[in-house]
Symmetry: C2
Subunit: 728 residues, 2 copies
């Protein structure tokens, strides 16, 4: 039958979206390294003047080719790899992206171009381990010159020649103020557990644009609120006593401040395990490679090295809802009083946040019952890197019903009670971007609702406290300011509602006022639905600060449900986002997607992502600019549409962010909700429903399709429900 | 020590807030029925011309008296009951509220007055079973006259003399268009499973104001889009064929449409139990009567018959955060094309939604491991009514960490990995208000965050389909329209942040622009915190449609945390609410609280609630009007403040609301989040934290304070974490 064939094709096609295998990675590496014209050398060598592979990942097939396999079971397009090569060993260094094909036995490569044939500036590349090793080198030289300043200020900590009282550093991005610059504010911190929240009041601006690290320079120094042009100037003035010194309180190794070590007491026990999830009769979902099935859902997934989790070919009961739902970018733009704080505008794809998905701990990061899967990335490396248990999939109960009704008979009893427990499948990875830990979830509910959610945890990005800093955050420790910042997350949602041809409308309410038809001296005032069909991309780009529609609705104008409504889905926001900079202001050009909580474009294979790994280090003239996608203002009626969704929140740190931001209340995202897509709630397919009917005499009659007893790990007693209420 | 004493007093004082016991209820009933001057008779007698008790519940002690017990361990004030008496058996019938004291052996009673000494109109009282019995009576007469119309229209259903093909009805409120009216639109439905979504196209307006049901009249009839002044007129015209008849499709008993019976298929198994919660080492919370402790939390609870769940004396580590957090009202205002649809403005306290908390099913409504508690209500009854398992308390895992951090060493390993699983205590009741089921949750996170949340499920309120109805919703069945409506929920949040004296400010961001201190040719543009202290009640009443502040912050100006910040909490919204009618328009006067997502007032014992059970049937001149609380525009600086919070969402029904609205995506509420209240995250007290440190050789070192093995129901294998990532 049709449904089975669809399922087979979905399964068949999923591997088109599977990340490169280690073998494929090695094959591509070897193939490219065998091309003399590229002159590739190992990536991990310390020289910056070399040609080497920076990143390698799957290159997605073109959509219409992939759909041939997914919708018609035809042959899958050949697999390809996208390789980012840094050509440092030439007079005009550049970054070039190369498509290698076919896999697993490559025979050709070609250059990949960006929209408008924009070149990739060499200065916009991410920082590699090699470059960090030189940064550590120059920091050693710098800190040697101010050893006394640092040692006295911190009460014995130093960057070089230290044993247990060491300093470490955080580097701020972007790295300059204009395109083509590569100069970084670096902030020193005590190297103790949780060093992110131990700034010591010393920041230094290093220019490291030159590929010869010997020619790197210090451009500015900041110490305890004071700027100096040279490190020596700080050292001199410190010696002379012509600056304002600061001495941190004696370092107390017993102060648990930044650590996870428990302290304080609780009314109730915590030294036993809290509630845990079990699967009394085993898992109810299937994972086969990167293909997942649960309830009516099926989808494929991958984790790209730049921005992370993506799902493809999202279907319910074999019918497509989205071709792609994927994370595009995560940013955190800060404010503060120190140069590091003012400068911090983290744009995390530029830190390869997709590769920062380290091992998930069972029982903490994901329930013990989760399926843990490994990932591989090829980034700043000479061989594939294996990330064990980097992704998890699990089903959980939300502890509440998906639906329930007590059908009262108003005589102390009921006609029926019915209910279905709410279960959800969760697909999860994390990104530990230095201090912060993002938890990326896609959730699949049994009733055709899909949720995308990001939760924030990990350490805050904190700077040295100055009184003026209180305009930009809270004091969270003796000498530490938690700086205010806004988190924004961008998602691509290539909805394909029952096919590629979709339209988009927004819905609002308007009061109408008319004579009451049954009492003519009165008026009726009530709300009426006002639907606005959005014709072109510009008209469907909603700005922050403007009123957002009550409903945003994507539908297939050519497909109707049983009751004559066009099949549709809507996006429901759970977000407290706002824009982070005035439109067009410097770095804002790099994140033009952040202007819009929602923008709708016509799908283009040439517009695969809204950001790139190059934005962080050149946000001023970005290689990928989302604004370009809507500039041509194409028609979006009955077209292949893509929704671009921005969510986020303002984070003003407070004492309770110590030691870490906690997840409760710090989750944002959006729901994809069916709106007349199905004929009725598709979770009616679940046999986990329980119906109880009161009978004249004796025990209520329970109608169910699952075992009467859950199992001894939950309870040995069969389900029981009475439902009556009676006078006593 | 101080903390222990605080805990003891909290425990000691909790019983002040405990609902009346059945014995107390009987004592009060007997005491009042023994007062000849009241002339009370049984409530359940069919006469409407009688004096009888309508409702009885705890009368709360005055706050300053309660605080003497809670803060100083002094004697508790005497318990009192509040009794609503309907005096129908007198020339000017009225409703009087009476305070009876002391309990359990009452010796006196006095009349309770409302703000401004507003009297309670007799017509504003809720409908009792007695009145419903007469409504059924008049419906029998009415439907007898149009038996043929109904029988032919529905294909064999009738209201009277039916066996298996019966009709039932839904009554709409408010009951009229002006204060003092009591006339109700009644809609007929097929009496089948899920009758709420089986309207048959017949609606009738019955005037039932007279206390003699023999004098009740029919004022209007609506049939298939046509209005008639009399039932006979409809019957005549139907007979003559001078109206537009409708014949519903043949009733198909096998059509599962409105039922819970599973149908359709799913990719994966659902006939086995999904994941369940277990407590491998037993519960980690305490419940003693109405006093609950969990992590650092303690609170008391009750469920009042009008509006439901309340918590009192909410503390963390013995320090008060709120004196009261409670549900006040839930409304659903509809739009539509039939008179019933246009008229529907449900204001659920008027249906005694606090009493509609029927039995919770284990494994569906609450996890099997929950503690289920019974409640008692005294409403429209002659004896206390016992509601078995009407409230549940449980701890659950959210399936994610509360905090986690992977502290990368950037050499394929890590300095440490730390994490704490996120657990939360849930306190839950439900209200099945006829068709709808609300799930009321208060959630207590280990890190001092508290969440109030309502989830909506149950049947939609649907009306007969007409083409014009499509302006007001979706067609969800052959002849059924799902009508658009807005749900709004009102909460009272009497925050007492570390004491009664609090102040309130809002925070916004403003761009500042200044010369870059380290590059004078450039400017810095960044966001700065702008705090606005709100001086008076009017200035702290935020209107829907206006921009809401980024943060709303309540703090104690007299108490600071360790870092010098005033101890505070903020309210974070999770809501999509908007106002439902123009300000001052007819029924809107009854719900003036709904003008404001947030309003802040000075606490008054005389302003205990924002609504009453009388609003539903007289919203035009309400006894309790929230607007009165802010009219005097008192100072709110360093005062006992109360935050009044409105949340909600627009619900445009769609096919997936069949058979029921599902909870995913249909939950709104708010968080109470500490903001510099503590010195650091109080969940650091949890011994459930796990820390892993990589060691040079061998297995990573796990530091933990809980048993290494969770237990055989979860996994027999000890926790394991490696954390390295390596080239392959
Ligand atoms: Ca375009
Ligand atoms: Ca599309
Ligand atoms: Ca006032
Ligand atoms: Ca207060
Ligand atoms: Cu943050
Ligand atoms: Cu609703």
């Amino acid at each position: 039958c049709e449904g089975d064939r669809g399922r087979e094709w979905a399964h068949h096609g999923a591997s088109m979206f599977a990340d490169l295998t280690p073998n494929e990675m090695r094959d591509v590496r070897d193939y490219l390294q065998g091309k003399p014209e590229l002159g590739l050398t190992a990536a991990r060598g310390k020289s910056l003047k070399k040609n080497s592979i920076l990143l390698m990942e799957l290159h997605l097939p073109r959509k219409h080719e992939a759909l041939r396999a997914l919708d018609r079971g035809q042959a899958k397009p050949m697999r390809q790899a996208r390789v980012v090569v840094q050509f440092g060993n030439q007079s005009q260094p550049n970054i070039t992206e190369i498509i290698v094909s076919p896999l697993p036995f490559p025979t050709s490569y070609r250059e990949k171009t960006f929209k408008g044939d924009k070149p990739i500036r060499f200065e916009s590349r991410p920082i590699t381990e090699a470059e960090y090793s030189h940064i550590i080198g120059i920091l050693q030289k710098i800190t040697a010159k101010v050893h006394k300043v640092l040692f006295e200020t911190t009460g014995g900590f130093s960057f070089h020649n230290c044993t247990d009282r060491c300093l470490t550093f955080a580097d701020i991005a972007p790295r300059g103020l204009e395109s083509g610059e590569r100069r970084t504010w670096i902030m020193l911190q005590k190297f103790v557990e949780g060093y992110f929240i131990h700034p010591v009041g010393f920041e230094v601006l290093v220019n490291h644009k030159d590929l010869n690290p010997e020619r790197w320079t210090v451009e500015k120094v900041w110490y305890n609120g004071q700027y100096f042009d040279k490190v020596e100037e700080l050292a001199d003035q410190y010696e002379k006593g012509t600056l304002e010194k600061v001495k941190l309180p004696d370092h107390d190794d017993k102060d648990l401040y930044s650590t996870y070590i428990p302290r304080g007491h609780s009314n109730t026990r915590t030294d036993i395990h809290g509630p845990k999830l079990v699967e009394p009769q085993g898992p109810r979902y299937h994972v086969d490679g990167n293909f997942v099935e649960y309830a009516g859902w099926s989808f494929a997934f991958r984790v790209r090295s730049s921005a992370g989790l993506q799902i493809f070919d999202l279907r319910f009961n074999g019918e497509r809802i989205a071709y792609e739902v994927s994370l595009q970018e995560a940013i955190a733009f800060y404010s503060g009083d120190t140069p590091a704080a003012m400068q911090t505008k983290y744009i995390d794809a530029g830190w390869a946040m997709g590769t920062l998905d380290y091992e998930l701990a069972p029982g903490i990061d994901c329930p013990e019952i989760a399926t843990f899967l490994d990932l591989h990335h090829y980034y700043d490396t000479d061989k594939p890197v294996h990330y064990k248990n980097a992704l998890c999939v699990f089903e959980m109960t939300t502890g509440m019903p998906l639906r329930r009704h007590f059908n009262n008979n108003f005589q102390g009893g009921y006609n029926f009670f019915g209910g279905l427990e709410n279960h959800v499948l969760v697909l999860r990875t994390t990104s530990t971007v230095y201090n912060y830990d993002y938890i990326w979830d896609f959730l699949f509910y049994q009733n055709g609702v899909m949720e995308s959610r990001v939760s924030a945890t990990g350490y805050i990005h904190a700077t040295f406290f100055t009184p003026n800093g209180l305009h930009y955050g809270s004091k969270v420790y003796n000498y530490v300011l938690g700086n205010l910042h806004t988190h924004l997350i961008h998602y691509k949602v290539d909805l394909d509602i029952a096919g590629r041809k979709n339209s988009f409308e927004s819905m609002n309410l308007k009061y109408v006022n008319f004579t009451n038809p049954w009492s003519h001296k009165h008026s009726v005032v009530q709300s009426k639905l006002v639907k606005t069909q959005h014709q072109t991309e510009r008209g469907a780009a909603f700005r922050f600060g403007k009123k957002f529609p009550r409903y945003v609705h994507f539908y297939n104008p050519n497909e109707k449900n049983k009751w004559g409504h066009q099949k549709g889905y809507r996006i429901q926001y759970n977000s407290h986002a706002d824009s982070v900079l005035p439109r067009g202001w410097m770095e804002e050009n790099g994140i033009s997607w952040s202007r819009y909580p929602l923008a709708v474009t016509r799908h283009k294979d040439s517009e695969p992502t809204s950001s790139s790994i190059y934005t962080q280090n050149d946000p001023w003239e970005p290689v990928v600019s989302f604004e370009d996608y809507i500039r041509n203002d194409e028609s979006i009626i009955n077209q292949d549409l893509v929704a671009w969704v921005t969510v986020g929140f303002l984070h003003v740190p407070h004492s309770e962010d110590i030691p870490n931001t906690a997840t409760p209340g710090n989750a944002v995202g959006f729901f994809l909700r069916p709106f007349n897509f199905f004929d009725e709630d598709p979770s009616l397919a679940s046999r986990s429903t329980v119906i109880v009917r009161q009978v004249k005499e004796g025990k209520p009659k329970v109608q169910r399709w699952t075992p009467e007893v859950v199992g001894h790990c939950v309870t040995d007693r069969p389900f029981f429900y009475n439902g009556t209420y009676a006078g006593v």
